[in-house]
Each structure stands twice: as structure tokens, then as C-alpha cells.
Symmetry: C2
Subunit: 118 residues, 2 copies
DNA sequence: TTTATAGTTAACCATATGGTTTACTGTAAT
DNA sequence: ATTACAGTAAACCATATGGTTAACTATAAA
């Protein structure tokens, strides 16, 4: 790991790889919010929480506006779009590679009902 | 970090947060391949490379079939779908929350390269 | 049967990561 | 002027992560 440096997509996906940060994103998708208000929902110290916000900001997923002593954070969807695009391109390419049998099997899977919830 | 445990989505996004692993995924989207064949493209020891495959396998993104001394790895798209769904749900919810002005701005962004504030 | 090939395991290392506490700054309220 | 409140900074800690090398197993080829 001599010369390892995170690129943009690394950073975006790293943000998403943490359930606290995914929860923050969901929260912010409802609208902007202040640090303390959001932090209250998490079993974590305030400095711990603001570290997550800093990481998300560096990755370009959130920004904030300052009003007096408050910081209102809001989503910066461009960053998320970046990740979404990578996945969508992948899956469109991948699907174009499938044989018709594979496509048939894919259409008719139905029974893979693991809980995909959080 | 007393009791921190990665859940499914954590694992999937963690896989995606590494450019080597994203490259492996793209490679495998063209079809199955063996370990050494794939490893040749990376400036990394073989054990280092197989560690990545193990991580991807644990996250449910790849599987393999063994043929003699070869392991043929292939994509297991369910895992990736899981990540894609999370992002798509988010963005559909997020878009439904926008005001019509915001939607207008979103449609017509084209060039929004200024930092909002800070 | 010996040798080559494909891949894994184990031990190790440096840095990153997710968290803490304590002390601080800046703004608002009394 | 003092106190409360919102948030940051710094130092620290334990574990995770991405990598290495050396030694191994299993299958295939000579």
C-alpha cells in the first residue's frame, strides 16, 4: 500500500459503505437539517457525528449553508449520481452481454426474496 | 468502535469503494475468468489479488466454479442490484421531494460547477 | 516420478477508519 | 457581562484494510 490514493468514486462509495452515513443521506433526502438535530438520532458523540459529515462533504455528497450558529446541511446529488451512473453503466453493459437463455432466467427469477431493507 | 459490524449493504459498497475491485467487476461483466488471467492486469502480488476476490465473494458479488486447478470467477449480479436499488430508491424519493422550482433547476443545470457556498 | 502451474494460507506491516474525551471558538440569549 | 448553545479541533485508541513475502496444497504435464 505504498502509494494508495482514493479517487472520486472511491470516496463516494466509501461514504455509502457506512450505515450511519447512508442514514444521514436518507435523512437529508427529506430536506436540509442542522448538525445537532440530526446527531440526536445516533448513539454517538457529537464530534464522532461531525466527522461523518466532513467525510461526506469531502466526497461531494453534501454541502451546507451557515445561519448564525447553525449549519444547515443538504444533499449534493451530483456525487450520488456519479455512483448511480457507474452502476447503471455496468448493469446495462452486463445485460447486453447475456445470452438469451440467461436473459430468460433473469426475467423469471422471482424467488430471491431475501430482506433487502434497512 | 466497540461493537461495529458490517451489514450486507456495507459490504457491497465497500467492495465498490476500491478501484481494483471495480475494475475486476468490469472485467467479469464481460464473462467469467480465472484468477491468474485477471491478476496479470494488476501491479499486485497474487495473494494480494486473491484477497480482493475473497472480499467480493463474501459480499456476494462474485462466485466461482472450479475446473481442475482453475477457478473461474463470474459476476453474481444480485449483490450489485442490491446497491443499485438502494441508490435508485433514494433518488426517486429525493426527486419526489423537490419543489417545482428545484425540479426546473435540476432539468436545466448543464453547468453547475460553482461551490454552493462555504 | 518429477516438475510446473494455479491458487491459498499465514504471518507480518503501515496506514486508514470509526470512535472517544477534553478543550476550544463563535454566536445567541439573559 | 455572563451564560448557554452549536459546532470544531486535537489527541488518542482499537480494529480494519490493503498490501507484502514465504511456505504450502492440489492438479496437470514431462
Amino acid at each position: 500500500m505504498v502509494n494508495y490514493k482514493k479517487d472520486d468514486l472511491d470516496q463516494v462509495f466509501s461514504v455509502l459503505a457506512d450505515s450511519t452515513r447512508r442514514a444521514i443521506i436518507k435523512e437529508l433526502s427529506k430536506g436540509e437539517n442542522t448538525v445537532k438535530k440530526m446527531a440526536a438520532a445516533y448513539d454517538m458523540s457529537l464530534p464522532g457525528f461531525t466527522k461523518h459529515l466532513k467525510i461526506m462533504e469531502n466526497a461531494g455528497l453534501v454541502s451546507f449553508r451557515k445561519v448564525g450558529k447553525y449549519k444547515y446541511y443538504y444533499l449534493q446529488p451530483k456525487g450520488i449520481d456519479y455512483a448511480t451512473e457507474w452502476l447503471n453503466e455496468l448493469s446495462s453493459y452486463w445485460k447486453s452481454q447475456l445470452t438469451s437463455l440467461e436473459k430468460y432466467l433473469l426475467e423469471n427469477k422471482e424467488e430471491d426474496n431475501d430482506d433487502h431493507d434497512e
